[in-house]
C-alpha cells in the first residue's frame, strides 16, 4: 500500500526517507518538486501527483511535506488520514512536528515508522499502544538512561494488544478513576463586507480523557441532543443507542481519544461573537447573551505586496508587521464591551506602485472559555458495570476556526 515515505522541508531538502518494500529512489521526488514549481507557492501543491510509475500522495503540516509513494490503487482518503496520523504521532512524541525535532529524534522516528507500518500496511497507530512499544523521550528519562544505560523500549508488550475492545486495556487498576470531557467548538465563518454573515457554521468535538479501572460502561447524555446536525462517532460508541435514545453509550478506550465530532450549521443558531468594522475597529456583540469574555484575540492581515512598512497605534494590545511575508499580526487580548479596541495609523505604499484594488481579508482568532457557542450542554454521565465512583468533569471552550472577515 504505502511503499515509501519522504519527509521534505520547505526549502526542498529531503531529510528523511523510509521504505517498507523495495527502495524507491529519491529521484521520484523530482516530480513533486516540479509540481511545487508549477504551483508558484510551495503550499499549493496538489495532494495527489501522478508520476510515470507511482502516485505521490502528500500532506503539508507544520511546514513539512509528508510525501508517500503509492504503486497500487488505494483509497486516497485512507492514505491522507494515515499521513496525518504519522504527523500527529510526531507531535505527540516530540511536542512539535518540526524538522529539528525529527532530526534530533531520528532514531525514535524510525522506530515509530517501523511499528506504524509493516509491508506498507498500517499496524499500531493508537497513541497509547505506541507509547508502550516505544517510550517517548522525556528530559528525565534521557537523564536516567544516560546514567543507567537503560533502553527507551518497553520490555513487555502492550497489554492493549490482547484486548478485544480497541484500545481498552483489561486488568488495569487506576488509583484515581477519572473521566474528563472537553467540548471544543470552532466557528468557521465568513463575514461579508457589510458585516453580514456570508457563511457560518460550528464544528464541534468532544475529546475525552478517561482513566477508569476494569470494564466500565459509560453513558453520556445531553440537555439538547437535537442540536447536533451531523455526528461522527468513535468506534466504541453503540450507534443503535444513539439512534434510538440520543444517548452516547460506550466502553471507553484508555487515555485520550475523540469521542464524537459534530456540526451545527443551521444559520440562525450561529451567533457571531465578534465582528470587525471595515475601518478595523472591534466590537463584541452578544456578550450579554452569554456573559463570557472573549479572549486571546488575534487579527492577522496579509497585506498587499506593495506595502513595505506601516506605522500604527493600537488602543489595546500590540502589533507586529513582517515585511518579508507582509503579514500584520495584531494581538488584541481581551475585549471589554465598554472600550472597543482599535488599530489606527499609516500604511505606507512603495513609491510609484499603484493603489491596491482590494482591501486584504482579515483572519481572526479568539477563544471563549466555559462556553459552547452552539449551546450544547452535557446533562449527566452514568457508569455501569463497576462499583467505584469516578471523578467526572466537563469543560467547554469555543474558538475561532477559519474565521474570516472580508473588507
Amino acid at each position: 500500500m504505502i511503499q515509501s515515505l519522504f519527509l521534505i522541508n520547505c526549502s526542498g531538502d529531503i531529510f528523511l526517507e523510509k521504505h517498507w518494500k523495495s527502495v524507491v529512489s529519491q529521484s521520484v521526488c523530482d516530480y513533486f518538486f516540479e509540481a511545487q514549481e508549477k504551483a508558484a507557492d510551495v503550499e499549493n501543491v496538489p495532494p495527489v501527483i501522478s508520476t510515470p510509475h507511482h502516485y505521490l500522495i502528500s500532506i503539508y503540516q507544520d511546514k513539512l511535506f509528508f510525501v508517500s509513494v503509492i504503486q497500487t490503487e488505494v483509497p486516497p482518503l485512507f492514505v491522507i488520514e494515515f499521513l496525518h496520523r504519522v504527523a500527529d504521532t510526531f507531535q505527540d512524541y516530540f511536542g512539535e512536528c518540526s524538522e529539528a525535532a525529527i532530526k534530533d529524534n531520528v532514531v525514535i522516528v524510525y522506530e515509530l515508522l517501523e511499528e506504524m507500518l509493516d509491508n506498507g500496511f498500517p499496524l499500531a497507530t493508537e497513541s497509547n499502544i505506541l507509547k508502550e512499544l516505544i517510550k517517548p523521550p522525556t528530559i528525565l528519562r534521557s537523564v536516567v538512561s544516560s546514567i543507567t544505560g537503560s533502553s527507551n523500549v518497553g520490555d513487555t508488550l502492550p497489554t492493549g494488544q490482547l484486548s478485544n475492545i480497541p484500545g481498552h486495556q483489561v486488568g488495569i487498576e487506576y488509583t484515581n478513576n477519572e473521566a474528563y470531557f472537553d467540548v471544543v467548538e470552532e466557528i468557521d465563518a465568513i463575514l461579508g463586507k457589510s458585516g453580514s454573515t456570508v457563511f457560518a457554521e460550528i464544528q464541534g468535538v468532544i475529546d475525552a480523557c478517561i482513566k477508569l479501572s476494569g470494564m466500565p460502561n459509560l453513558s453520556l447524555s445531553f440537555m439538547n441532543p437535537r442540536l447536533l446536525d451531523d455526528v461522527s462517532f468513535h468506534p466504541c460508541i453503540r450507534f443503535k443507542c444513539w439512534e434510538s435514545e440520543r444517548v452516547l453509550s460506550f466502553i471507553p478506550p484508555d487515555g485520550n481519544f475523540r469521542l464524537i465530532s459534530y456540526r451545527v450549521s443551521s444559520q440562525n443558531l450561529v451567533a457571531i461573537p465578534a465582528y470587525v468594522k471595515h475601518s478595523i475597529s472591534f466590537k463584541e456583540n452578544s456578550s450579554s447573551k452569554y456573559g463570557k469574555t472573549i479572549e486571546g484575540i488575534t487579527v492577522t492581515v496579509h497585506m498587499p505586496k506593495v506595502v513595505p512598512n506601516m506605522n500604527l497605534t493600537p488602543t489595546q494590545g500590540s502589533y507586529t508587521f513582517d515585511p518579508v511575508t507582509k503579514v500584520l499580526t495584531w494581538d488584541v487580548g481581551k475585549i471589554t464591551p465598554q472600550k472597543l479596541p482599535s488599530l489606527k495609523g499609516l500604511v505606507n505604499l512603495q513609491s510609484g506602485a499603484p493603489k491596491p484594488e482590494e482591501n486584504p481579508s482579515l483572519n481572526i482568532q479568539f477563544k471563549i472559555q466555559q462556553l459552547a457557542i452552539s449551546g450544547l450542554k452535557v446533562n449527566r454521565l452514568d457508569m455501569y458495570g463497576e462499583k467505584y465512583k469516578p471523578f467526572k468533569g466537563v469543560k467547554y471552550v469555543t474558538k475561532a476556526g477559519k474565521f474570516q472577515v472580508r473588507t
Binding site: 490503487e73 509493516d118 509491508n119 500496511f121 457554521e201
Partner: protein, 711 residues
C-alpha cells in the same frame, strides 16, 4: 562538526566501532551506532562498516538491536555474503523469550531483501504463525507475503495459503486483517483473496473490533462478496449501517462504496445512502486537513454527476476562504458551478464576482483563478439566461486578471454575445484589437473576430473602425492560415450584406429550454460506483491505467496482473475520459466516425475482398466478457459486427470502424483456448500506414485496459 567526505566518516566510524573501549561502554557504543544510522538516513553510503555493525547486533540492548536491524535491512542487498552472518543472530532472536524481540527479529529478517534469504526465513515464519503472542503472529503473517515476493513468480505454497486462511479466525483483529493483506499479495495471480460466504460473515462480525485502517480495508475486500439473496444483502447493509457515521472519513467512504456496489440493483437505496453520507462528506470538506478537504471535494463532484443539486442547500459550504490553497478553491468553484439553481444564483454570482478581484496580493494567482470564474460565467449565461444581467454587471474589471487563452476566449465570447448590455464592451475589445499582434493564441484571435463582428451588428458606430483594422490585420499580416481564413470569411460575408450576416451570426444566445438542472445528463450511480473511494475521482482512470501499464512493463507480467486485481468490472472508460482515449489518435490524424454501422453482409464481402494489413498478438488472460468489450469499443467508435458468446472456444469477434476520410478498418479478434493471447488481424480499405498505426494503438489501449480488468 567540520565537513567530512563520506569516506572519512566511514573510516572514523569504523575505527570507533572496532575500539574495544567503546564496545565495553554500552552507551558510547550505542551512540556510535546512532551516528552511523544518522549518516545513513542522510544518504551517505555507510555500507563500509557492515561487518562491524553485524557484530554489534549480538547484544541484549533492544534499541541497539533495532538500530542494527534497520542498518542491515538497508544495506543487505549490497553485501549479501556478509548479511548471511547476521542471519544467525536473527535466527537466534526469533526464539527469544521476549515476544518483542521475536517479532522484531522476524520482521527484520523478512525485510532483508536479498537473494538466498528465503531458505532461512521459512521456518521462523512458520513458527511465528503459531506463536502465542499476537504481536509475533502479526509480523509472521505479513512475513509470508514478503517471503512470497522474495521467491519471485514461483508457484504459490498451498499449505501456507491454507494456514493463512485458517488464521482469518485468529482472535487478534490485526492478525485477521494482516492475513487478508498477505493473502491478497500471495494470490494476486489468481485474483487475490477469495471472500466466500463464511469468510464474509466472519469479517462482518469482527468489523467493530478492528481499528479504522482495518475497517477501511475489510470494507474494500467485502466488495468482492456477492450476497446470495436479497434478505442477506439487507442484513449486511444493516450490519454496516453504523460505519456510515464513523469518525474516520476513510471508513465512511469505504462503507459508502460498499453500499453503492451491493445495492446496485436498488437505486433508491443508493440515493438514500448518498443522502445519509452527505453530513460526513460535508464535514470532511471543511476538515482541518486541506488534503482531506480536497479528496472529499473530488468525491462530492462525482456524486453531483448523478444527483445534481444534491448539495444545493449547502452551497455556502463551498464558498472559498482567503487562506485556502488554490487546488481547493478550484474544486470549490467547480462544485459551486454545479450547485447553481434559480434560488441561489444571485448569491453564487455575487460570490464569484468577489473572487474575480480578490487576492490582488498575488496577481498570478488571481489570473489563474479568474479564468475559471469567467468560464463559469460563460457556462452560466448559456445555461440560465435569467442570470445574464448579473454576469454582465460582474464582467467589467475582470479583463485585467485574465492571461490564459481559454479565459480570454470565454471573456471575448461573452463580450461579443452580450455586448449591447455591457456599456464598455467595445472598449475592452478595442484593447484586445490593439494588442492583437502580440497575441500568441490563434484561437483567441478567431474568437475576437467573431465577437467583434457580432458586436458590430448591435453597436455599429463604436465598432466599425476597429473591425476594419482587425480585418485588415487578419487578412494582410496574420501568418496563421486558420485566422486568415476566418478573417476572409467575415470580410466576404460583410460584403454580401448586413442582413445575411445577421442571419448567420445571430443564433440563439442561450438555450432557454435547457434548465440548468435538466441539462446535466444524470449519470446512473452505477457508472461511477466502482471508482468511488479510489484515485479515479482525484485523477482519472485513463491516467491510472497508463501508470499501471508502465509498471507492468517494468516488472514483467506479475506486476501487471497485480494492478489488475484492484480493478472492479464496470464501465471502463468514464464519460470524462472518453476524450482522453480519443485524444491520442487525434494527434496522429486519425478520427473515427461514430455510428458507422455496416451490415453483416457488406462486412463479409469487404472482409473477403481485402488483404490482411496488420497482424498482432496481445496478452490476454481468462474469459472475455463480450458486453464490456463491446461497450468499451463503442466508446472509441469501433462498432461490433459479430461476437461469439462468453466462454465459447475459440472465441471470435468482428469489428468495424471508419475514419473521417472514409477509410474502413475491419478487424478480427481471435482467442484460442490454450493460448493466453489475443490475435488481432486488421484489414484496411485504403492502405495508409500512419492511420493504421493510430488505429492499432486505439485498439490496443482498449483491449489492454479490458484485459487488465478481466484477468
Amino acid at each position: 562538526m567540520p565537513y567530512l567526505g563520506s569516506e572519512d566518516v566511514v573510516k572514523e566510524l569504523k575505527k570507533a566501532l572496532c575500539n574495544p573501549h567503546i564496545q565495553a561502554d554500552r552507551l558510547r557504543y550505542r551512540n556510535v551506532i546512532q551516528r552511523v544510522i544518522r549518516h545513513m538516513t542522510q544518504g551517505l553510503d555507510m555500507s563500509g562498516v557492515f561487518m562491524e555493525m553485524v557484530k554489534a547486533s549480538a547484544t541484549v540492548d533492544i534499541v541497539q538491536k533495532k538500530l542494527v536491524y534497520l542498518y542491515m535491512c538497508t544495506y543487505a542487498p549490497l553485501k549479501p555474503d556478509l548479511a548471511l552472518l547476521a542471519i544467525n543472530t536473527l535466527c537466534k532472536d526469533c526464539s527469544d523469550p521476549n515476544p518483542m524481540v521475536r517479532g522484531l527479529a522476524l520482521r527484520s529478517m523478512c525485510s532483508l531483501r536479498m537473494p538466498g534469504v528465503q531458505e532461512y526465513i521459512q521456518q521462523p515464519i512458520l513458527n511465528g504463525l503459531r506463536d502465542k503472542a499476537s504481536y509475533v503472529r502479526r509480523v509472521a503473517v505479513l512475513g509470508c507475503a514478503k517471503m512470497h515476493n522474495l521467491h519471485g513468480d514461483s508457484e504459490v505454497d498451498g499449505a501456507l495459503v491454507n494456514e493463512l486462511y485458517s488464521l482469518l479466525r485468529d482472535q487478534d483483529p490485526i492478525v485477521v486483517v494482516n492475513c487478508l493483506r498477505s493473502l491478497e499479495e500471495i494470490l494476486k495471480q489468481e485474483g487475490g483473496v477469495v471472500i466466500n460466504k463464511p469468510i464474509a460473515h466472519h469479517l462482518l462480525n469482527r468489523m467493530s473490533k478492528l481499528d479504522q485502517w482495518g475497517q477501511a480495508e475489510v470494507l474494500n475486500f467485502l466488495l468482492r462478496y456477492q450476497p446470495r439473496s436479497e434478505e442477506e444483502l439487507f442484513d449486511i447493509l444493516n450490519l454496516l449501517d453504523s460505519f456510515l457515521k464513523s469518525s474516520s472519513p476513510g471508513v465512511v467512504m469505504g462503507a459508502t462504496k460498499l453500499f453503492l456496489i451491493l445495492a446496485k440493483k436498488f437505486p433508491h437505496v443508493q440515493t438514500d445512502v448518498l443522502v445519509r453520507v452527505k453530513g460526513p462528506l460535508l464535514a470532511a470538506c471543511s476538515s482541518e486537513s486541506r488534503e482531506l478537504c480536497f479528496a472529499a471535494l473530488c468525491h462530492v463532484r462525482q456524486i453531483l454527476h448523478s444527483l445534481p443539486g444534491h448539495f444545493s442547500s449547502h452551497y455556502k459550504k463551498f464558498f472559498c476562504s482567503y487562506s485556502e490553497p488554490h487546488y481547493i478553491k478550484l474544486q470549490k468553484v467547480e462544485v459551486l458551478c454545479e450547485l447553481v439553481n434559480d434560488e441561489n444564483v444571485q448569491q453564487v454570482l455575487e460570490e464569484l464576482r468577489g473572487y474575480c478581484t480578490d487576492v490582488s496580493a498575488d496577481f498570478a494567482q488571481a489570473a489563474i483563478f479568474a479564468i475559471v470564474v469567467v468560464q463559469t460565467f460563460r457556462d452560466l449565461v448559456w445555461l440560465c439566461p435569467q442570470c445574464t444581467e448579473a454576469v454582465c454587471q460582474a464582467l467589467p474589471g475582470c479583463e485585467e486578471n485574465i492571461q490564459d487563452s481559454e479565459g480570454k476566449q470565454a471573456l471575448i465570447w461573452l463580450l461579443g454575445v452580450h455586448g449591447e448590455r455591457i456599456p464598455n464592451a467595445p472598449y475592452i475589445l478595442e484593447d484586445f484589437v490593439e494588442n492583437v499582434k502580440s497575441e500568441t493564441f490563434p484561437a483567441v484571435k478567431m474568437e475576437l473576430l467573431t465577437a467583434l463582428v457580432r458586436l458590430f451588428l448591435s453597436r455599429p458606430a463604436e465598432c466599425q473602425d476597429m473591425l476594419g483594422r482587425l480585418l485588415y490585420y487578419c487578412i494582410e499580416e496574420e501568418k496563421n492560415m486558420a485566422v486568415r481564413d476566418r478573417g476572409l470569411f467575415y470580410y466576404r460575408l460583410l460584403l454580401v450584406g448586413i442582413d445575411e450576416v445577421k442571419r448567420i451570426l445571430c443564433s440563439p444566445k442561450s438555450d432557454p429550454s435547457l434548465g440548468l438542472l435538466e441539462d446535466q445528463a444524470e449519470r446512473p450511480v452505477n457508472s461511477w460506483a466502482s471508482d468511488f473511494n479510489t484515485l479515479v475521482p482525484v485523477y482519472g482512470k485513463a491516467r491510472w491505467a497508463t501508470i499501471s501499464k508502465c509498471v507492468g512493463a517494468e516488472h514483467g507480467g506479475s506486476e501487471r496482473s497485480h494492478t489488475a486485481s484492484f480493478a472492479v468490472s464496470g464501465h471502463l472508460i468514464s464519460e470524462e475520459n472518453k476524450g482522453r482515449v480519443q485524444e491520442a489518435p487525434d494527434s496522429e490524424t486519425l478520427m473515427l466516425v461514430p455510428n458507422c454501422q455496416l451490415t453483416a453482409e457488406y462486412f463479409e464481402k469487404t472482409w473477403l475482398s481485402l488483404e490482411v494489413a496488420h497482424q498482432q498478438v496481445l496478452p490476454w488472460q481468462g474469459e472475455v466478457h463480450p458486453d464490456t468489450l463491446q461497450m468499451a469499443l463503442q466508446v472509441v467508435n469501433i462498432q461490433t459486427i459479430a461476437m461469439s458468446r462468453a466462454g465459447s472456444q475459440p472465441w471470435k469477434a468482428y469489428l468495424s470502424a471508419q475514419d473521417d476520410t472514409g477509410c474502413l478498418f475491419l478487424t478480427e479478434l481471435l482467442l484460442e483456448s490454450e493460448n493466453s493471447e489475443m490475435q488481432i488481424s486488421v484489414k484496411q480499405s485504403e492502405a495508409r500506414t500512419e492511420t493504421l498505426n493510430s488505429f492499432m494503438s486505439v485498439l490496443e489501449t482498449v483491449i489492454g485496459t479490458i484485459g487488465d480488468i478481466k484477468s
